[in-house]
């Protein structure tokens, strides 16, 4: 197990220092956006390299502003700049960006519909650093705020369309981002997405796994395994968690007997809850199983270890389906 300890963790040297030719989808997308739109600026709270904002800091120093380790102030400054017509991207780890300054986000970003983009990293269990750095409730928090759009790209290559979509929205957006920790393999690439429209990655008739972020990979593996057992399994990328594609969820629920939500987040308040609300309100029929962190704090560990331990791996999804069918 120890061989996989560094996976997906920002402390791995290559990730932090941009060595090894690691693609920097977010950093590059931010620079491209700032180059084509003079309103785009970036704000940092230390953590430049782990949020890839060293790219814009170095390429366009007059468009990057470092406030220091002070996330509450970060949000206030971003809101002020947005109200003056800029499009600020506020960057930090998801956990500090959302939980730490919720009141500032609620009252200075969401309520006044300030054109602030929140770019958070280290989603869910994707860090060795432990509970203090694991954002397990960020989606729940952001989802509860009126006017907030939430996008979690299905993979690093969907970060570019996500940044574009965020800029096109005139209002608050939370981007839940995971950095690429190695060059993408062919079978890991995803088509670009349309904001607000659930994306079918694999069709199926018995079970639909609705997932987001890094759980897309687990869902795809699970679907392959289930199909081999004769259970026809669809995989749906729910990259836009708010506003939710209610139509797509209802249709999947009419078509399949079982919906499985797979999220790198607490099962309370996130994607699983959002889907459950739709199923209940639409009386859509399908059973629902939520895969995710089950109302507990986790611990530090490598991502594969934690996914396995907390029953969120591809195998755990398969088991959940088999148990429910």
């Amino acid at each position: 197990m120890s061989g996989s300890l560094h996976l997906g963790d920002f402390t791995s040297a290559a990730n932090v220092y941009g060595a090894g030719g690691m693609p920097r989808y977010y950093g590059d997308a931010l620079v491209a956006s700032a180059a084509s739109d003079p309103r785009v600026v970036a704000l940092g709270a230390d953590l430049s390299a782990p949020t890839e904002t060293d790219v814009i800091r170095d390429a366009m120093p007059d468009r990057f502003f470092m406030v220091g380790i002070q996330e509450a102030n970060l949000i206030g400054v971003a809101s002020g700049m947005a109200k003056m017509g800029d499009i600020p991207f506020a960057n930090s780890f998801s956990v500090f960006l959302t939980r730490r300054c919720y009141d500032q986000i609620a009252m200075q970003v969401a309520y006044p519909k300030a054109n602030v983009k929140l770019a958070g990293f280290l989603p869910g269990l994707s860090t060795l650093l432990g509970v203090s750095h694991q954002a397990i409730d960020d989606i729940a928090l952001m989802r509860a705020l009126p006017n907030m759009t939430i996008i979690e790209p299905g993979g690093p290559d969907q970060i570019v369309p996500a940044v574009k979509a965020a800029i096109e929205i005139d209002g608050p957006v939370y981007l839940r981002l995971q950095r690429a920790d190695r060059p993408l393999q062919k079978d890991q690439t995803l088509p670009p997405f349309e904001l607000g429209k659930a994306q079918t990655l694999k069709d199926g008739a018995d079970v639909a796994i609705v997932a987001s972020g890094l759980m897309i990979g687990q869902a795809r593996q699970a679907a392959t395994k289930l199909s081999k057992r004769g259970i026809s399994t669809a995989v749906v990328n729910l990259h836009t968690i708010k506003p939710l594609d209610r139509n797509a969820i209802t249709q999947w629920a009419r078509r399949c007997q079982l919906i499985v939500t797979a999220e790198n987040h607490s099962i309370i308040g996130g994607l699983g809850s959002a889907v459950a609300e739709v199923l209940a309100e639409e009386n859509a029929g399908a059973r629902l199983v939520r895969v995710g962190l089950k109302d507990r704090f986790a611990e530090g560990g490598s991502l594969p270890y934690l996914l396995q331990k907390y029953r969120m791996s591809a195998d755990a999804i398969v088991e959940a389906v088999v148990e429910a069918s």
Binding site: L5, T11, A49, M66, I69, G300
Partner: protein, 272 residues
């Protein structure tokens, strides 16, 4: 001849480095800068008993810069709070020794830290509780200098002065570097001393790698009645290892085998 405390600190530096190297992760720069302070606290200043980690009369230490947890684990092991064998489990599956300290798992840890700016407010609460009980034990808290950019610290600084918490000592590990750059190029709070003084604290500035100076500044004899105390400890990130010293790249970089050998050799060279 190095003093006993210096020898202990040297051992802790080596064990810390080995642990980060073997785990393949950690925050070695900030660990090297805080180890002398932790050593002085646990081996000279703090009244604590590894046999009774929950002794109600113990002194309290909060490591607010929780990312340097490994240094604290090594110190706690050396002092007998946890088995020394356990250090090698740092960051491993099932280990109690996570990347940030956990109060419910590790004896000797007074509060969970990790999000910067949490430790000082909690320490103010502990010191206030001691006053309430008319207890004699003291509370110490260590923050990073970059960490002091968090506004929560300054709220706590006001509260501590208002409460007159002379049983509280804040040690700022002033190594001039934060995660990605110098404080100077980020949000330059320095100098700290006049700011703390303006908030009503007693302040002392020391060389944070001089054991005698650390012990003197933390001794109960230098407490100023009615005022919380701040010790601005001038330190080096990566202290003791030439190529890490004062180099921001080593905030959470992990040495390769060549760098590890060289760093060990340098530390061994100053071992006694």
């Amino acid at each position: 001849m190095a003093s006993n405390l210096e020898q202990i600190a040297n051992w802790i530096r080596r064990r810390d480095l080995q642990s980060v190297y073997e785990a393949g992760a950690g925050h070695v720069g900030g660990e090297m800068s805080v180890i002398d302070i932790l050593t002085a606290l646990y081996f000279r200043i703090l009244s604590v008993n590894p046999e009774q980690p929950q002794d109600p009369d113990r002194d309290r230490l909060v490591l607010s810069k929780g990312h340097t947890a490994n240094a604290l684990y090594v110190v706690l092991a050396k002092r007998g709070f946890i088995p020394q064998d356990e250090i090698s489990t740092f960051l491993k599956p099932m280990s109690r020794l996570n990347g940030h300290p956990n109060r419910t798992k590790v004896p000797g840890i007074e509060t969970n830290t990790g999000p910067l700016g949490h430790g000082l407010p909690v320490a103010v609460g502990m010191a206030k509780a001691a006053k309430l009980d008319k207890a004699a034990w003291r509370t110490f808290v260590i923050t990073g200098d970059g960490e002091m950019q968090e506004g929560s610290n300054w709220e706590a600084i006001m509260a501590a002065a208002q409460f007159g918490l002379d049983n509280l000592t804040l040690i700022i590990d002033h190594n001039r570097l934060q995660q990605g750059a110098r404080l100077l190029d980020t949000n330059n709070l320095a100098p700290f001393a006049p700011k703390l003084e303006a908030f009503g604290w007693a302040v002392e500035e020391i060389d944070g790698h001089d054991m005698d100076a650390i012990c003197a500044a933390l001794s109960s004899e230098t407490v100023v009645k009615g005022k919380p105390k701040c010790v601005v400890a001038h330190t080096n990130k990566g202290q003791g290892i030439s190529f890490m010293s004062d180099n921001v790249a080593w905030h959470h970089k992990v040495p390769d085998s060549v760098q590890y050998e060289q760093a060990m050799k340098e530390l061994e060279g100053t071992a006694s």
